[in-house]
């Protein structure tokens, strides 16, 4: 594989950039692989990469029904953070933060990881207390957290509404300075390019339409391009999990819902971090191109539509304008949606299943982009060793049965309001 470097850039400039290697190949599927990963999103691609890199398993195929990066990995608002309270979530996410910090070097691909900090705003004394508790829990787990008062928040985001007569005055906020954003496409492409270079077959335009299961064991998948055999299969299909689970006669603690996001026209730099509204569900950051990147609530009913509905967007942007009134002057450039695998406690599942050789990676809700490296790393371990790693042992499928839920927000099973 050609290394991306300043020297190669200069060298290729001399031939008008006509001689770069393809970043990944377009192989025809083989009859059999050691491991098949279904879904070429961030998690599938990262899993294949870590299977090859950490476990020397390279006879691997990624099977993607569309094009890699066409799912949620290319649709999210790229927020990366580890501001969790429960140990399982905190330790898993913080392990991921470490992988994020090294990712561009590790993949020889600039994923533009930008630890610009996240501030969760508080709008009451009670909320300040909750954030103090969360911040303390984070610090006990070695994660950076700073409780900001109103004046400290005002210094960082003077464009927020600090006037006296607002419905939800800003009391302060909880900041994780090491949180940030990254270029989502680059993450998918960076993992794909490295996985390909180590021998992984990336097979696009190939839909998994069924499974070959016999005697409680998985033997392979049926695809739109023929049958493919494998003794180990990993499911990484995010918002399509319920569809494939049905083909396996499994009913999972997951519902599929739609999440929208939008960007404004580009403007000059005004916001250098990520900010979330604490009296509703709205978050915002500014992209390197200058667009304000915004999102919030789910559309609120089961959906596979991958496109949104206006009432939710209107609701979300109303919250945004309450928080930062200048937003009302911006024109909207684009809106889009993705389908989310909402789990019943808001935490993911990375586990083995009752079918031998079938592994499950799902339930990412709207927080799976930040989890991409840690999810790939732990899922690769789970598949290669046929046992979960300590880091993902809390993300078991049977926790719903045993009562060991990881309900970070304490919202219960109404996935559409979380």
């Amino acid at each position: 594989m050609q290394k991306y470097s300043i020297f190669n850039l200069v060298k290729n400039a001399l031939s008008n950039h006509q001689n770069w290697d393809l970043a990944w190949k377009d192989p025809t599927p083989k009859k059999e692989y050691d491991v098949v990963i279904i879904g070429g999103g961030g998690h599938g691609l990262a899993t294949a990469y870590y299977l090859a890199k950490e476990h020397n398993i390279t006879n691997v195929a990624i099977i993607e029904k569309g094009w890699i990066g066409g799912g949620n990995v290319g649709r999210n608002t790229t927020i990366i953070r580890s501001n969790y309270m429960h140990d399982d979530n905190a330790l898993f996410s913080e392990f991921g933060m470490d992988l994020w910090r090294k990712m561009s070097q590790d993949l020889n691909y600039n994923v533009m990881f930008s630890p610009r900090g996240i501030i969760n705003l508080a709008h009451s004394d009670a909320q300040m207390n909750v954030y103090a508790r969360r911040g303390n829990s984070m610090r006990l787990n070695g994660i950076d957290a700073v409780l900001l008062n109103r004046e400290q928040v005002r210094e960082i985001i003077p464009m927020a509404d600090f006037s006296e007569n607002v419905r939800f005055p800003i009391f302060g906020g909880l900041m994780q300075p090491s949180a940030g954003t990254a270029r989502h496409d680059a993450v998918a492409w960076g993992y794909a390019r490295q996985a390909d270079s180590m021998g992984v077959d990336i097979i696009q335009n190939c839909e998994v339409i069924g499974f070959d299961v016999s005697g409680g064991k998985i033997n392979g998948v049926r695809t739109s391009r023929g049958d493919i055999k494998a003794k180990k299969i990993g499911l990484c299909v995010a918002g399509s999990t319920n569809i494939l689970a049905e083909k396996l006669n499994m009913t999972l603690p997951i519902e599929t819902h739609l999440l929208q996001a939008c960007v404004s026209e580009p403007v000059k730099p005004v916001l250098d971090g990520v900010v979330t509204f604490g009296a509703g569900h709205f978050y915002i950051s500014q992209s390197d191109k200058g667009e304000m990147v915004m999102g919030g609530d789910l559309d609120g009913y089961n959906s596979y539509a991958q496109r949104g509905n206006l009432p939710t967007l209107q609701h979300v942007l109303t919250e945004g304008i309450a928080m930062m009134p200048f937003l009302s002057k911006l024109k909207m450039l684009r809106t889009w949606g993705g389908i989310m695998d909402m789990s019943m406690d808001g935490s993911p599942i990375i586990d083995k299943t009752h079918i031998e050789g079938l592994y499950l990676n799902c339930g990412w809700c709207y927080g799976g982009f930040k989890a991409t490296p840690a999810s790939g790393w732990t899922f690769a371990h789970t598949i290669a060793q046929d046992r979960v790693h300590e880091l993902n042992s809390g993300y078991s499928l049977n926790r719903f049965n045993t009562g060991h839920l990881l309900d970070e927000k304490g919202l219960g099973t109404k996935t559409w309001i979380s």
Partner: protein, 90 residues
């Protein structure tokens, strides 16, 4: 914008309703032996079908009644609505 025909009030915009999830889920019967699996299926496990889906909505800014709605989860087309106590006939 979805338009939902409330069996009590007629056609109204989605803004008047709130969602209540899969209407086909049944609470295990009271005073009977209930296995853990039955409870799991009631509380947590969902088919979340792609296509026709019976679901509960409440006409929260209208008559406040719960209703059942048959909606396509891929196209958002609404086929039928029923009162809460009317049985779904498949």
């Amino acid at each position: 914008m979805l338009y939902i025909k409330c069996p009590h009030c007629g056609m109204r915009s989605q803004n008047e309703f709130s969602y209540g999830g899969d209407a086909s889920v049944k609470r295990p019967e009271l005073n009977k032996e209930v296995s853990d699996q039955d409870w799991d299926n009631f509380v947590y496990n969902r088919k979340s079908l792609r296509g026709k889906h019976w679901e509960l909505w409440q006409h929260i800014s209208g008559c406040r009644q719960w209703i059942k709605v048959e909606r396509d989860t891929a196209t958002h087309e609404i086929f039928r609505t029923l009162k809460a106590d009317e049985e779904i006939s498949l």
